[in-house]
């Protein structure tokens, strides 16, 4: 809806119901995500954070509302969703690396098959990315041979290998042992500093405070409050946000 051509994703009155409307996972979400923004989504369990994030690349099919990505209605039947997904990288809580492929193959399969990159070009790019996260020596390993933190760093660069315009993160550090959280957050922080547009669902309030340009607080499928991290953490308005912050901080 917005005429602002800096807007990458525009979400309007997004709804997702389960069991014929009995469960309202999303109950009218409206927000714009602009180029270069780092949006952190917080909220209690079951508030619809994952559903919101997964709707953005249509892993969940919304019940109502619209989502436009770079000006295109992603739910329209004339839109090639596979093309759009190539421009949206996604990182999952449980990594979802392909266990039957080496790290290098995990990272080259999509660029080769979808962007038509030659094997050499794809491998060169993958190795460059691996170097950026300090894992260049694990290129030949299988996912099962890596630690959780390493797996998640690979999952991030696997998505980056497709040169996405936006990166979506769904609790990327929740399945990690505490000592591995830092290494993954560091990669995400670097990515944010390089200007990547990011939407992150996370419980890492430190990350939200430090890296986010905007924080969205969700509850019961609705956006309750959204503001700069400074305002959200030092000057929360809504009672539910206040009690949520009391519990997590």
């Amino acid at each position: 809806m917005s005429a602002d051509n800096n807007v990458i994703i525009s979400v309007n009155d997004l709804k997702k119901y389960y069991n014929g409307g009995e469960v309202k996972a999303l109950d009218g979400i409206t927000t714009d995500i602009k180029k270069g923004e780092v949006v952190v989504v917080i909220g209690p369990s079951g508030s619809g954070k994952s559903t919101f994030l997964r709707s953005l690349n249509l892993l969940e099919r919304p019940t109502g509302g619209t989502i436009t990505f770079e000006g295109k209605d992603i739910m329209s039947s004339s839109t090639d969703i596979n093309k759009l997904r190539q421009q949206m990288g996604m990182v999952f809580q449980h990594f979802n690396l392909f266990p039957h492929l080496t790290i290098l193959k995990n990272m080259t399969i999509a660029p080769m098959k979808l962007h038509g990159l030659s094997k050499e070009a794809a491998e060169k790019k993958a190795l460059d990315l691996l170097r950026r996260v300090g894992l260049q020596d694990r290129a030949g390993a299988y996912p099962a041979q890596l630690s959780g933190g390493q797996k998640q760093r690979i999952a991030i660069v696997r998505a980056l290998a497709m040169d996405p315009d936006v990166m979506l993160f769904d609790e990327p550090t929740s399945a990690l042992d505490p000592e591995m959280v830092g290494e993954v957050l560091d990669v995400m922080k670097k990515l944010a500093e390089e200007g990547m547009t990011m939407v992150c669902v996370t419980h890492e309030m430190g990350f939200a405070r430090e890296v986010a340009t905007r924080v969205i607080f969700m509850d019961c499928g609705k956006i309750i409050e959204e503001n700069t991290p400074d305002q959200i953490f030092t000057n929360p308005q809504n009672e539910r946000l206040k009690s949520f912050l009391q519990k997590v901080l």
Partner: protein, 329 residues
């Protein structure tokens, strides 16, 4: 660290098999291989040591049969007197006269030999047909399950729905009726005008096996974590490519042993082909029985052959399972 011993066991097994041309040496070699294998149990953590041990056992069996044949039947210019008398005594036994009557007179063993060939032929092509059918049916059924939300109605969805229903009926009918009845229906009703019994048997057993293979493969597809599918789709792969590059390779690995077992089951199932007059292994033995009126030898011979085949392939499956487990780490 056990690699050297394991390699040794493997090489001895291969040599023992080759040496079957000199059965005495071959037997000695095979026994040596078994002893080395027994004394180095640790080496058998490596699959190749198990393969070597298996080859030694096979070589031992072949060599023993060869030795018995040489002692009892081989004509040499100066057969020693003691061997001649041993042979005379053996030829006089009831066992030998039964044996001769059932297998040697009129070259009756050819019923077994040709029957075995037919059994293998039918099984081989039925397995191919079964896997092809099974993969197609499994893909249709699981793609309908995942795509019914994504396809926004219309023509594609209607086609997929019809295919899905057809596959459902196929599975219900095939798994709900005995394979003999299916075989007879295909022979006497559907192909009443043709007399190509092998083709009929391949079709019947292939179509039958396809239903079971379909469920095996569908189980394999469902056993792959849902996150794998989502990861593939979120990279931008379409449904078909996600299946082809990410889901099927993982599913295939988990179902390979089950598929191989299906093949073993199929070998035994083809034994009912006699109902439409196809002369496979079981029917071959039965024909001998009807000619000689002695049931013991031909039927036991048939049973032993099935047993050896099944033991052999089960062994291969167990090696395969170990191999797959190892690569999981």
């Amino acid at each position: 660290m056990y690699t050297k011993k394991a390699n040794q066991i493997l090489i001895i097994g291969i040599i023992a098999l080759i040496l079957a041309v000199f059965p005495m040496v071959g037997t000695a070699c095979a026994i040596f291989g078994l002893i080395v294998a027994a004394r180095n149990k640790n080496a058998r953590t490596l699959i190749r040591a198990d393969v070597g041990r298996g080859l030694s056992i096979i070589a031992l069996l072949i060599n023993i049969v060869a030795i018995i044949y040489l002692i009892l039947f081989k004509q040499i210019s100066h057969t020693p007197a003691w061997l001649m008398s041993l042979r005379e005594a053996f030829y006089a036994t009831k066992f030998y006269s039964d044996f001769e009557n059932n297998f040697i007179t009129d070259n009756r063993y050819t019923f077994i030999r040709k029957g075995l060939g037919v059994t293998f032929e039918v099984t081989f092509f039925a397995v191919l047909l079964g896997i092809a059918l099974g993969v197609v049916v499994a893909l249709i059924r699981s793609s309908y399950d995942t795509l019914k939300e994504e396809l926004k109605g219309g023509f594609g969805k209607a086609i997929l729905f019809i295919l899905y229903k057809i596959c459902g009926i196929y599975l219900t009918v095939i798994r709900g009726t005995p394979v003999v009845v299916q075989l007879m229906i295909i022979y006497f009703v559907i192909f009443a005008s043709s007399n190509n019994k092998i083709l009929v048997a391949v079709l019947a057993f292939g179509i039958n096996s396809g239903a079971y293979v379909a469920e095996i493969i569908r189980g394999g597809i469902m056993s792959v974590d849902k996150g794998q599918f989502e990861a593939g789709r979120s990279l931008g792969f379409g449904y078909v490519r996600t299946m082809a590059f990410i889901i099927i390779p993982q599913a295939f690995k988990t179902v390979l042993p089950a598929l191989a077992n299906e093949f073993i089951v199929l070998i035994k199932e083809t034994s009912v082909s006699g109902y439409v007059g196809l002369q496979e292994l079981t029917k071959g033995g039965d024909i001998i029985r009807s000619r000689t009126y002695s049931a013991f030898m031909p039927l036991i011979a048939v049973a032993i052959i099935y047993l050896l085949i099944v033991i052999f392939f089960s062994w291969l499956v167990s090696l395969l399972e170990r191999r797959l487990k190892n690569s999981e780490r």
